[in-house]
């Protein structure tokens, strides 16, 4: 679908029974004031799909979400992790304040199963957020997930490779993530109902030099 068609779709969404207002109100604060200020509704959009495109793994792409996830989980909603690329490590997540009993990990045997599981979970209002790492998906897949998220009122997060940033996607929010010395650089690539092109620097807690490298260790390396 080209950009024009999507604009039309957005317009029809806006006109539809004040849905835009409802959409704006339903947001989960991200926990980063600077980021919340740039997102319509003041946080991650609930009932929508967001695409995170980290330059590489291990730069804070999960820590960016954990404040919002913790809040959703404490409100009694579950967090589904569909086919995560590594083991979600319980001590690390617990330390970031995530209630472990609200986390559900779904292992699948391929993209199709992952998409199916993500769609089913997004549709279920018991889930506050659904995280997925689909390797190779189409516009149509994203649109299906978007509809499922709208039905369930949950936050759908797709981790995708940075190469697809140039391609078009029906996701409501698309972020490019880059590592910096101080933390994480977030670039709003697309934002439905907001401004695209904003670049933010967010501090990541685990990078603060609370414990410096011991000199003897440095020589050992």
């Amino acid at each position: 679908m080209d950009a024009r068609a999507e604009t039309l779709e957005q317009l029809s969404r806006l006109c539809h029974d004040g849905e835009w207002r409802r959409g704006l109100r339903q947001a989960a604060p991200s926990g980063f004031a600077e980021l919340d200020a740039s997102l319509p509704g003041g946080g991650w959009p609930l009932g929508a799909v967001c695409e995170f495109m980290p330059a590489t793994m291990g730069i804070g792409e999960l820590s960016l979400l954990t404040p919002a996830l913790s809040q959703l989980a404490r409100a009694g909603r579950y967090i589904a992790w569909i086919a995560p690329p590594y083991l979600p490590y319980a001590p690390g997540l617990a330390r970031q304040g995530l209630p472990l009993e609200r986390i559900l990990i779904v292992q699948t045997r391929g993209v199709q199963e992952s998409l199916w599981a993500a769609e089913q979970s997004l549709r279920c209002p018991a889930f506050g957020a659904v995280l997925s790492w689909p390797a190779d998906i189409t516009d149509q897949n994203v649109r299906r997930l978007q509809l499922a998220a709208e039905a369930g009122g949950s936050l759908g997060i797709l981790y995708r490779s940075p190469e697809i940033a140039r391609e078009h996607s029906p996701a409501a929010l698309r972020l490019r993530l880059h590592p910096t010395q101080a933390g994480l650089s977030v670039e709003i690539h697309k934002c439905r109902g907001g401004r695209a092109g904003v670049r933010l620097q967010l501090p990541m807690s685990h990078t603060d030099a609370a414990l410096a490298v011991h000199p003897s260790a440095a020589t050992c390396a």
């Binding site: 330059a55 999960l62 083991l87 490590y89 001590p91 690390g92 330390r95 009993e101 559900l104 030099a209």
Partner: protein, 412 residues
Amino acid sequence: MPLWLCIRLPQLAREALAEEPAALERLAGWAYQWSSLVSYASCEPLLWLELGASCRLFDGHTALLARIQAELTQLDYSHVCALAPSPTAAALLTRTQEPRHALTEAELRAQLEPLPLQLLDLPATVLGALRDSGLRRIGEVLELPATAIARRFEPQTLLYLQRLCGKASDPRPAWCLPPTYHARCEFGVEVRTSTALLFPLQRLLLEFQGYLRARDCAVLRFTLEFEHYRHPISRVSIGLSAAGREATQFLALARERLHSLTLPAPVSALRLEALEFTAPTVVQTDLFGSDAQPLQQLQRLLDRLRARLGEDSLQTLELAADYRPERGWRCGSSNLEANPDSPPRPCWLLQQPVRIEAPAQLLRGPERIESGWWDGDDVSRDYYLARTDAGSQIWVFHDRLTRHWYLQGLWA
């Protein structure tokens, strides 16, 4: 006042009941949800339900009859139903051109009188003798004095006529609900696709639902078995996270399982088995909007995911009291409190530590972990937070025993 419903199932006779002797038994279990007195005769085949005691509970006999007939249609059994005060009369009325209903003995008499003699379930010799006497209608036979019939024919004939009018007691063997549920459905031809299995499966599950309603119980687990020629049976066990008894729910789960199942051979018969029953889950909603609904939806979703992706596809996380990072978590539900003073840990852990070159940039560390000497899997490691050239923050350790570097986690 007893009121008997007789259901004639011509299709079961044609399908050759010999091939599927359990079909009537299954239907009896299904019918038990409406009446505590269910009986069947396999020779014709007929199914009787005493409805007099249940009419009020189910809003009168008209509504109840409509409901029973609707379910029979859903089960895809062709059927003829008739109501009468006695089971013998009800059976006779199913044999007429148009099924008739008689609620009282007077109505029954009026219904029976114009019917032809041949409908009586009497031996051919008796019917022949009656016809030779110039009798053509049932009414004429009923008008004969009892003594005359008793004199000319065997005592069974008189008993039959008296039962027909409700003048003699007409006991039927009451069918009892079995304590466990076993149903089997054999196919005339081998079924090769799982889609084609859904139809007989739906029938089995609807009958199962009737049985569960009759017993007022629910199941947490039931088993489906697929029989093949010259192949061992394939077995699928379907579990529910909350006790259920709705055929639609069962069918949705079974469909997901069939979707991912590859059967080794065409299926010749299908079996359904349930051995354990529990009280049904009653969903109570509280006054001010409640959490019951999402919870139930969650349970249904988990069942669906498990059915399609496999029993072990769902995991929850929990902390484990072990210093070795790879043992610091496990699947299950948590009972260990997170300690806010615990050392920082990454969110991603690799399944197995991967050996790497010495990292260029160490940001934090070391944190020494020495543990496990008691179970032979002892470790002695120095952990660091490091940064790769691409900017990833990684969790690495220097193994003090082998002097190699390993990657174990990512600070996402």
